[in-house]
């Protein structure tokens, strides 16, 4: 039986990251125990937990009017470690509005709420593992991590994949954002390539002329390797 490979060193953030203040009193300090991949971990929720509604993927059509901001299309392919598409899996997103404010009772950033923007969406991947959302570009916003701290614009993503082991929550960023090198959440990922893969790409083939800019954001979930061999060490 092919196993799910363990994450490659540096490709995932550590739990404890001094620069990300909230991690300091929440990261476990005892060593983690390696869990064998039993049937419990090799199974998982399939097909999401609720049917998807007609406007769930279109965050610009969930209220009576259109939200303010730069209209965007975000699409990408969800695949596993062998490059196989992950079809029929639930993708959930949530984000701040174009002014950088979340529709959340505890977000007290003094930027306006947009009555026409809720900021949450859901979609299933199709047979090719592709998802697609329509939204507005979220704004950057300040946070209390350190003096004059600002989060770069980002969209939160949650994915299930084909098993418990594939579960992923991450964030998508936008290209050429000068806040990216200053963000302790993104920068806590040691590997530069792994950080770069969380930055979406402006893609004119996704853009709809006279309507919305298009960004591509591909996601790779854990999966079984088709061959049980390790990569050669070079």
């Amino acid at each position: 039986m092919n196993e799910y490979p363990r994450p490659r060193a540096g490709s995932q953030p550590p739990y404890l990251c001094e620069a990300y203040r909230s991690s300091v009193r929440r990261a476990p300090l005892q060593p983690l125990i390696q869990l064998p991949h039993t049937l419990t971990e090799r199974t998982g929720l399939l097909y999401g937990h609720n049917p998807i509604g007609e406007t769930d993927h279109d965050l610009t059509r969930q209220c009576s009017g259109e939200p303010l901001g730069e209209r965007i299309i975000v699409t990408g392919r969800v695949s596993d470690e062998d490059g196989r598409p992950v079809p029929n899996t639930l993708v959930e997103v949530w984000q701040a509005n174009s002014g950088g404010r979340y529709r959340h009772s505890r977000d007290n950033h003094p930027a306006p709420l947009d009555p026409n923007f809720l900021g949450a969406g859901r979609a299933m991947t199709d047979d090719n593992g592709t998802y697609r959302f329509v939204s507005v570009k979220p704004g950057a916003y300040p946070w209390a991590n350190h003096h004059n701290a600002w989060r770069p614009a980002h969209i939160h993503f949650s994915l299930f994949g084909s098993a418990f082991l594939a579960r992923l929550v991450t964030q998508m960023y936008f290209p050429n954002d000068p806040l990216l090198p200053l963000d302790p959440i993104l920068q806590s990922i040691p590997d530069e390539g792994a950080r770069a893969r969380l930055v979406s790409v402006l893609d004119l083939s996704v853009t709809e002329p006279e309507w919305a800019l298009g960004y591509r954001f591909d996601i790779v979930l854990r999966g079984r390797r088709a061959t049980p061999f390790e990569e050669p060490v070079r």
Partner: protein, 191 residues
């Protein structure tokens, strides 16, 4: 070179309008579900022993009353209880707490003929956690615990952190504190 899985990033503090608007995700049973009905009560505490106030999220994954999963990986999936969903998800409240309604899972057969004790995989997402934490819930005083291969990998003095106990006044409600850090830190697994 094979693709490398995407990096995890924290759910942040403001996930609830995206992930937990459906409160029914705290109820894993539908009418007619087989098995013993129980409630699972959790509390998530940080390294100062302070309950995480509304900014952590718990997901459950468990087998049905006969230890089956509705997933093609399980050879018994066709017989899995259609009135039971093994997945649950709740946001913790201001006191760091949440309560699920479910059934006690059955033991899960192992390929070698052994059996895992009844258990639930518990995933914690929170502000401050760059990646989900995974732990397991076992039922205190279950005779099968002694033969469970995962529990036996955990140092004896830390096993207690994985045991849920029934509340004295509500014996069908099992409680587990999840201590993210410090004294009595819950055992978390590298999956």
């Amino acid at each position: 070179m094979s693709p490398i899985p995407s990096a995890s990033q924290t759910v942040g503090p403001f996930f609830n309008f995206g992930l937990t608007t459906n409160r029914l995700l705290g109820v894993l049973t539908r009418e007619g579900a087989q098995g013993t009905r129980i409630r699972l009560s959790f509390r998530v505490l940080d390294g100062d022993g302070i309950p995480t106030p509304g900014d952590s999220l718990i997901e459950l994954w468990q087998a049905d009353a006969q230890g089956r999963y509705a997933h093609p990986e399980d050879p018994r999936s066709a017989a899995a209880d259609p009135a039971f969903c093994g997945f649950g998800r709740l946001q913790t409240d201001e006191k760091g707490a949440c309560v699920f309604e479910t059934i006690k899972p059955g033991g899960v057969p192992e390929p070698d003929g052994g059996m895992q004790a009844p258990h639930i995989d518990v995933t914690i997402f929170a502000r401050g956690l760059q990646k989900q934490l995974v732990t397991r819930l076992y039922f205190a005083r279950d005779a099968a615990n002694a033969g469970d291969r995962v529990l036996s990998m955990v140092p004896a003095e830390r096993r207690e952190t994985l045991l849920a106990h029934p509340l004295p006044e509500q014996p069908d409600t099992w409680h587990m504190d999840i201590r993210l850090q410090g004294e009595g830190e819950t055992v978390f697994f590298d999956v």
